[in-house]
């Protein structure tokens, strides 16, 4: 398959060009997903070769911004996987309650739905006032959406059902106001959230977190990159702190796996061991 080999070479060069020009590093991402997105974008633009796309994005920032949107996955919802949030409430919150101050890092927060879900749980458990949530993503367009906290109102039915299944203690309607087909997240939920740009591949750790959530991000990374990012989380977590991954993700491909206890196998909640044997 010479043609496909050529396409793969061109993709490699394009990802290198994106990294050199814009600093976004997709070189360690799982290949099939990236390739599918690039080939679709090529078709939409009516271009013949990936190298044409390379030329375009090198000289046209807006074209790159659109491609970046293609390459990052921003599909999310409030209380996505309700059973996960129920476990979080039942298993993790009681421990966080014993801390004077709680630091949460939501890595790869996309448009913010799951960040606000976390804020709601902390609020209902009376912990929000002593929490700071750092919500990060590599894509500033989605971060802006996240900090606005405005969602399409037809999603509310699904969000409400998720909230109830996730063990919600109040009425979901208290957390947004709806008008003109849009649902605006209540201002009070935003108070303790800091939205900022952070790239898991190229940026460094965040200090002494009590809880890191990074759900459905690692599945887009190669095994090597997964290992790198889990290392970053391990450095960012305090002793006995929690790491939550997406329901189909694992620590299996990470050399750091033995530094964690599994709190919930099904919901992918891990807890960093207080002490671990240092490797030579």
């Amino acid at each position: 398959m010479t043609l496909n080999d050529n396409v793969n070479i061109e993709i490699k060069l394009l990802l290198e060009a994106i990294y050199l020009k814009y600093g976004y590093d997709f070189r360690g991402y799982a290949h099939a997903h990236i390739k599918r997105r690039l080939l679709n974008r090529l078709k939409t633009l009516g271009l013949k070769r990936i190298s044409d796309l390379q030329k375009l994005i090198l000289y046209d920032k807006d074209a790159f911004a659109r491609l970046l949107k293609d390459l990052s996955i921003n599909v999310t919802e409030m209380f996505r996987d309700p059973s996960f949030y129920l476990s979080l409430r039942n298993e993790v919150i009681p421990v966080l309650r014993t801390y004077p101050f709680i630091k949460v890092w939501h890595a790869g927060c996309a448009t913010g739905e799951e960040v606000y879900s976390m804020a709601i749980i902390l609020k209902e458990e009376g912990l929000y006032e002593r929490t700071r949530i750092y919500a990060t993503d590599l894509n500033s367009i989605v971060l802006d959406k996240a900090s606005e906290g405005v969602y399409v109102a037809d999603q509310i039915k699904n969000f409400t059902s998720n909230y109830q299944q996730a063990g919600g203690k109040g009425s979901f309607a208290d957390y947004y106001s709806a008008s003109h087909g849009l649902a605006m997240i209540d201002r009070s939920l935003k108070e303790k959230i800091v939205f900022s740009n952070h790239n898991l591949v190229t940026d460094g750790p965040f200090g002494e977190m009590n809880l890191i959530l990074c759900r459905n991000v690692l599945i887009y990374f190669s095994r090597e990159l997964q290992d790198h990012v889990i290392g970053l989380f391990t450095e960012s977590l305090g002793g006995s702190a929690y790491l939550c991954l997406g329901s189909k993700e694992s620590l299996k491909y990470s050399g750091h796996a033995d530094m964690y206890d599994e709190i919930s196998k099904k919901e992918k909640i891990f807890r960093k061991k207080l002490l671990w044997p240092r490797s030579q």
Binding site: M1, N4, A30, R36, I73, I219, Y220, S250
Partner: protein
Amino acid sequence: MKYSAVVIGASAGGMDALRIILSSLPATFPLPVMVVNHIAPSSTNYLTRHLDANSPLVVKEAEEKENITDGAVYVAPPNYHLLVEEDKTLSLSTSERVKYARPSIDVLFETAALAYGPALIGVVLTGGNNDGSDGLKYIKDLGGTGIVQDPATAESNSMPNAAIETANPDYILPLEDIAKTLQELASL
């Protein structure tokens, strides 16, 4: 061997159709099989367990970054796309629905076609939409072989009809004959 892998897509009526095919393949079937069956996002892994219990082959839910092993059957988990990597591992994705579906048959077929080229067999079974038709055409365009269930034997015939129209498959077969043909092709 001429072929290296099989991909199967099914929708409405897919559970029975998949059971009939997978129960008729021998334990010695030499190729890996990747399966997308449209299923509600909140489903459990019942489909996988049901197929595993009814097939001599090992049927399991696909895990991300898993190595593809000959003779194993991998089923896309509910609410995730299943993709085949060119290094013969599996990937999952939560990206947008394609033709209203996640998992999407087209996504599996297209990525598998890129990974296996002419060594791939694609099978479109019963279903009430047109997912899989573009994917099967992609497989054919890259030199692979297409099989579509005879619409007359399908619980829901839209998906087979769409695939026949779009992809010009090599075989249009009654459900009961698909396993036999897969075995014959696998021995080439």
